[in-house]
């Protein structure tokens, strides 16, 4: 994968269509709106599943741009990247291509919580994503603004049930029709920018027909509930103006570990990697924040802020008197900029400069002033609106700056989505990414991939597929979103996963690649074959280890260094011995070369497997129980308020509000009693026996072919 030569960027720009009339067809299976992390994964996944897919982006330059931090992965997020890759997604391989500083976080804390992470070269990442999309069969890229989302009127028999029919672009008269539409428009919904006392509420600067039209459809016509969230980005610092000798050097790992299961090495040679730097805030930083509070309306307007600290302002206000970490991260191989992770701020630009200069290493630092306009488009993967605002702000300041700023935006409450990320009240409409209230590239990409898979399956009349929280972090992410909703930007932590010791980064391929090929259809057969080989070899190796059952004295003779405890087990097996802290598979293989040497390439995975296996066995029963619960679907059209079963009013209201899609999700709701669950189950079971009403929206031929495929009321 890494050996291929990327086509020059220019060819991508030429090959994408800039006018809808140039698009070969006026009908697609799936249309993806937005070219960020969610949009690109969604488009690629839909095309892999087999759908004719159209990706519409306002600015083709910005497809695959890293709008905020130049890094991928981390603790929890790295697990997501591994899983996306296991499902044949793009971002893992893009990370291997663009990474310039690889490290495994949490190296000393156990393989289950290792966090693969990389600093990225923005340019290379964008190149890779664009080239990847270009070479994906069945995928067309189009530059344009979506003016309207086309939906049917609600069926009179089923009030509130709409169906997507396509989109209409600005300045085009002909609509483009599609069975599924995926919206991955990030912070566009009523987004407004904050810097100092300046704000630009949506719609006031210039006209933004696209976002206004979409917002209107989502809120007014489809009646979706929204909430408001905020995010921010730090100013970019000119590298040469920073005194790096005053900062702590953080070198990358000496062996760069790739994200992708397909790659054995990264594009960037280990010795060519760039370091990161660590500095700390000083009391001076706190002083500047406090002095400038009256100039900072983003912070003043903080109503129901998140529990964590998204900006330097909230850090020093909530944890005063401490010093906080500031990471200085490279932006690219040839970039002369540093990204100060931890210094997201929204004060006026002159105060921002004062603030960063309070940090010793940055006492003479300059905020980046981009020389030419296109760079801004590249860096700011935002809407027209925000770019215009930025231009206005820069104009008033008299020069091109890249200061930090805050964004407030609306998100669609994700409890209105099904586990397939489809809007429950609108068939064929899928949402993914920041629009669902998440933060982070990896979270967006994971949702994009899963929405893409299901949008394609919907369009191709295949039943929806779900990922369980027992088998993947993606499942945890989606289940948390659709069954609990969000009150602050949702970010993945390993502590959210109940079965963390099973959902490890090392085994993501075994958990997902096989299923991705056999059940989901989003994995290429090349990757599948590879995963099958890995699975079989691991099974053989584990069987070989298990059959190495020897008495302690023989073990001691063969491997004199191991601390054998006499009492523990009469005849310890190779698996038992490999669990020991200071026994590696390599040493074991050298003692038993005849049966273990064929598996040397999996030595690390085998060691991890041996350590975690006893715990996985313990968890298996609990996992099976949850999976059974998740397989029992609840019909989405139950009228809980008038259901003729014995349920308390309180329980009815909870069920009516959340509309859990499975009985498993229902049990996890606060306030649902076991008795309520039994009554509900009895009801479902009885109605399931009777003939359920025929399928509702029979408008085209394909749906007739699989009448039961989308009827979610029955367990499969």
């Amino acid at each position: 994968m890494l050996t291929k030569k990327l086509p020059p960027l220019q060819s991508f720009l030429v090959q994408v269509s800039r006018r809808a009339s140039h698009v070969a067809r006026q009908q697609y299976d799936v249309i993806v709106v937005g070219g960020g992390h969610a949009g690109t994964e969604a488009a690629a996944a839909a095309a892999r599943v087999g759908a004719q897919t159209l990706l519409v982006s306002q600015k083709i330059h910005t497809i695959g741009a890293l709008s905020c931090n130049p890094s991928l992965g981390g603790v929890g997020k790295g697990q997501l990247v591994k899983e996306i890759d296991a499902l044949d997604g793009v971002c893992g391989r893009a990370g291997d291509w663009a990474g310039i500083h690889f490290s495994i976080l949490n190296r000393s804390k156990g393989p289950a919580v290792w966090g693969p992470r990389a600093q990225l070269d923005r340019q290379r990442y964008r190149e890779f994503i664009q080239s990847e999309l270009l070479s994906t069969p069945r995928l067309t890229v189009l530059e344009g603004s979506v003016e309207e989302l086309l939906v049917t009127e609600p069926n009179p028999e089923e009030p509130g049930q709409h169906r997507v029919t396509g989109i209409r672009l600005a300045n085009e008269s002909h609509p483009i029709s599609a069975s599924s539409v995926i919206l991955t428009t990030g912070t566009f919904l009523s987004g407004s920018l904050f810097m100092g006392q300046t704000t630009s509420p949506g719609g006031r600067i210039g006209d933004a027909p696209s976002s206004a039209g979409l917002s209107h459809t989502l809120r007014e016509r489809l009646g979706l509930r929204t909430g408001r969230l905020r995010t921010g980005t730090p100013p970019r610092i000119v590298k040469d103006s920073v005194d790096l000798s005053l900062a702590q050097l953080h070198p990358p790992d000496s062996h760069s570990t790739p994200f992708s299961f397909l790659n054995t090495h990264t594009r960037c040679k280990p010795e060519e990697q760039l370091p990161c730097y660590l500095t700390y805030t000083t009391p001076g930083v706190e002083r500047v924040v406090k002095e400038s509070l009256h100039l900072n309306c983003h912070i003043q307007q903080d109503t129901k802020g998140p529990r964590y600290c998204p900006s330097i302002e909230s850090r020093v206000l909530r944890f005063p008197g401490r010093s906080h970490r500031v990471w200085l991260e490279p932006e690219g191989m040839t970039s002369d900029l540093l990204y100060p992770q931890g210094l997201s701020m929204t004060m006026p630009p002159d105060v921002q400069l004062r603030l960063i200069r309070e940090i010793p290493a940055m006492h003479r630092a300059e905020i980046h002033t981009p020389g030419t306009l296109p760079d801004i488009y590249v860096c700011l993967q935002l809407t027209d609106l925000t770019v215009k605002f930025y231009l206005n702000a820069s104009y008033f300041l008299g020069r091109w700056w890249f200061p930090g700023y805050g964004v407030q935006y609306d998100f669609v409450c994700p409890t209105q989505l099904s586990p397939a990320l489809q809007v429950k009240s609108t068939q064929g409409l899928f949402l993914a990414g920041q629009i669902n209230g998440t933060t982070g590239y990896e979270e967006a990409a994971a949702q994009g991939l899963w929405a893409g898979v299901n949008a394609a399956r919907w369009a191709l009349s295949m039943p929806a597929v779900a990922l369980s929280r027992t088998e993947s972090y993606i499942g945890v992410l989606i289940d948390d979103l659709v069954s609990r909703g969000v009150t602050e930007p949702y970010r993945m932590f390993t502590s959210r996963a109940e079965f963390r010791t099973t959902l490890r980064p090392d085994n993501a391929d075994l958990r997902l690649t096989l299923k991705g090929f056999e059940e989901v259809g989003c994995v290429s057969s090349f990757r599948y074959q590879k995963a099958v080989r890995v699975r079989d070899s691991l099974q053989d190796a584990l069987a070989a280890l298990q059959s190495l059952a020897l008495s302690p004295s023989i073990w001691r003779k063969k491997m004199p260094d191991i601390p054998m405890s006499e009492t523990k087990n009469n005849v310890p097996t190779g698996m038992d011995i490999l669990q020991y802290n200071d026994v590696s598979f390599e040493t074991m293989a050298s003692a038993f070369p005849e049966c273990l040497s064929p598996y040397m390439e999996f030595s690390q995975r085998l060691k991890i497997e041996a350590v975690y296996r006893p715990h996985s066995e313990q968890q298996r029963k609990e996992i099976e129980r949850i999976q059974r619960e998740e397989n029992m679907s609840l019909p989405q059209d139950i009228d809980y308020l008038s259901l003729p079963v014995s349920l308390s009013q309180e329980v009815r209201e909870i069920l009516d509000r959340v509309r859990p899609s499975t009985l498993g999700a229902a049990t996890r709701l606060q306030g649902i009693t076991p008795a309520a669950v039994v009554h509900l189950l009895n009801y479902v079971r009885h109605t399931g026996q009777k003939e359920r009403r025929p399928h509702r929206y029979r408008t085209d031929q394909r749906e007739d072919e699989e009448p039961r495929a989308r009827n979610t009321s029955l367990p499969r």
Partner: protein, 511 residues
């Protein structure tokens, strides 16, 4: 709500759906979904009784039977009573001499291997046998309704019985909730809550160390603090588990609480019932300010009678606390005697009934019965001071109130003249008798056994933290998670969000 309660429901649910469209009877009598866990519980009622029945269900039943009935080789013939000495499986101490019965699968109530121990009915014997069963590997105390659910799962129950399952679970979890409340408000409850609180912080700090220490400034000392906390907790739990008295003697018996407005004659009723001036009686409203407890024997059943402060809004701090305690007692009670001064009742029966209805609602605990159905079996209405009414009105009231539906049983008495007292005692006796038939009411031994099992799991899980502390933080954290889950079965479930709350409060975590 105990999370484990759900498990059984779900297993039952799975089975129901799998057998959809076919009669659910005896389809899966071999129970392929059978639990590896074996459950046990006291199946007979509480109260003074000659014989108590303890039942087990699950694969370890046979082992338990062999170990405890001294059967080294063969199991007894199925469904045949056998007189044996019942011994503790580890200490070999003889606990009792009684009958044992062996019901191999599938011909048993639950369709699994079952054993019944018929032992003597004293609380000491029951406790000893339950604890002995708990020490057998793979055995744990049954959750509410779990025997019934397993029977359901094995297709041993018909459709109508299945319909009633939800109500049964509700009733049983409700009884458990009352029981837990009772214990949680005491010393023991405070101890468990304190442990839970400390464990939560430990887990939050371990999770913060795992999720954030690479990017954020998490102080190096965090784990050391967790280490010492875990050590302390282990030591405290070990001491607690060894201490046979377990810190507090649980109150045994059916909990009966006297409640009502001030000056209705509640303390007089207590004194009348226990035939001694246990509580101060005066014509001044608000005389009783604290809970006055006295143990009684009603028709052979042990009851614990509590007199409480009259319910009213008072500016007096002491009285307000008294009223709060009174409400707490009503919430934990198995049976509440609502005392009403009948001089306050209108001579019109309709109006009187409405007054009583309103009065009852004010006595009811706030979070009672979502369906707003009045739980008549948990209340008795006592109309006191009947001597102040003219004879004619008395009879009319008595007659007409009996006809009003939705009211609990009504007794018209006078604590002054003892008029109507015999009738009242008969009604009280039958209510207590009904309650004692329910093995969950007033049976602290069962909850004790359950708590003990969960505490032992918690203790063992903390050892996992110690074992992996320097090898693998993920596995060490798993130990703390398990410990908190086990303790949470007593003190209430702890979700991931609660842990994140603590993390974000204690540490500065960025975007």
């Amino acid at each position: 709500m105990l999370p484990s309660v759900y498990h059984g429901v779900w297993r039952a649910a799975v089975h129901t759906l799998r057998t959809r469209g076919t009669p659910p009877c005896r389809l899966l009598s071999t129970a392929p979904l059978a639990d590896a866990e074996t459950i046990f519980a006291l199946s007979s009622g509480h109260g003074r009784c000659g014989v108590a029945v303890v039942r087990t269900s699950g694969p370890a039943s046979a082992t338990a039977l062999k170990h405890m009935a001294g059967l080294t080789r063969n199991l007894p013939p199925p469904r045949t009573a056998l007189l044996r000495s019942i011994t503790h499986p580890q200490s070999k101490e003889v606990l009792d001499r009684g009958l044992v019965l062996w019901f191999p699968a599938p011909h048993s109530f639950t369709g699994e291997d079952c054993v019944e121990f018929h032992i003597h009915g004293g609380p000491a014997v029951i406790t000893a046998v339950l604890q002995a069963l708990g020490s057998v590997a793979g055995m744990r105390p049954a959750d509410a309704g779990e025997f019934t659910r397993r029977a359901f799962q094995a297709g041993k129950l018909g459709l109508t019985e299945v319909e009633g399952l939800g109500d049964l679970i509700h009733a049983e979890t409700e009884a458990q909730r009352r029981q837990a409340l009772r214990q949680m408000s005491g010393e023991l409850g405070r101890l468990y809550q304190d442990w839970s609180h400390r464990l939560k912080r430990c887990l939050a700090h371990v999770e913060a160390f795992i999720d954030f220490s690479e990017d954020e400034l998490i102080e190096d000392g965090v784990l050391n603090q967790v280490d010492s906390s875990v050590c302390d907790l282990q030591a405290e739990m070990e001491r607690h588990l060894k201490d046979e008295r377990r810190g507090e003697r649980l109150r045994s018996g059916v909990q009966v609480v006297i409640a009502g407005a001030t000056n209705a004659g509640k303390s007089s009723l207590l004194n009348t019932l226990c035939q001694r001036p246990a509580a101060i009686v005066s014509p001044i409203a608000g005389t009783t300010r604290d809970v006055v407890e006295t143990a009684l024997d009603i028709g052979g059943f042990p009851i614990l009678l509590s007199d409480t402060a009259g319910l009213r809004d008072s500016p007096d701090l002491v009285e307000r606390e008294g009223v709060r305690r009174a409400r707490e007692r009503v919430e934990q009670a198995d049976l509440t005697l609502v005392v009403v001064d009948c001089a306050h009742l209108s001579s019109d029966a309709q109006q009187a009934a409405a007054f009583i209805q309103g009065h009852l609602t004010s006595v009811l605990p706030t979070q009672e019965q979502p369906e707003s159905v009045f739980p008549t079996d948990r209340f008795l209405l006592v109309l006191n001071k009947s001597d102040l009414l003219p004879e004619e009105q008395k009879q009319k009231l008595d007659r007409e109130l009996r006809c009003v539906s939705g009211l609990p049983p009504v007794c018209l008495i006078s604590c002054h003249t003892n008029e109507g007292l015999q009738d009242f005692l008969t009604v009280l006796h039958s209510s207590v008798k009904t309650l004692c038939g329910d093995p969950l009411s007033g049976a602290p031994t069962l909850t004790q056994a359950r708590h003990r099992a969960h505490l032992q799991q918690c203790f063992a899980a903390l050892a996992q933290y110690q074992r992996y502390r320097d090898m693998d933080m993920a596995l060490a954290a798993e130990g703390v998670r398990l410990a908190l889950t086990s303790l949470g079965r007593i003190t209430g479930r702890v979700g991931a969000e609660e842990i994140l709350d603590i993390i974000f409060k204690d540490f500065c975590i960025g975007k």
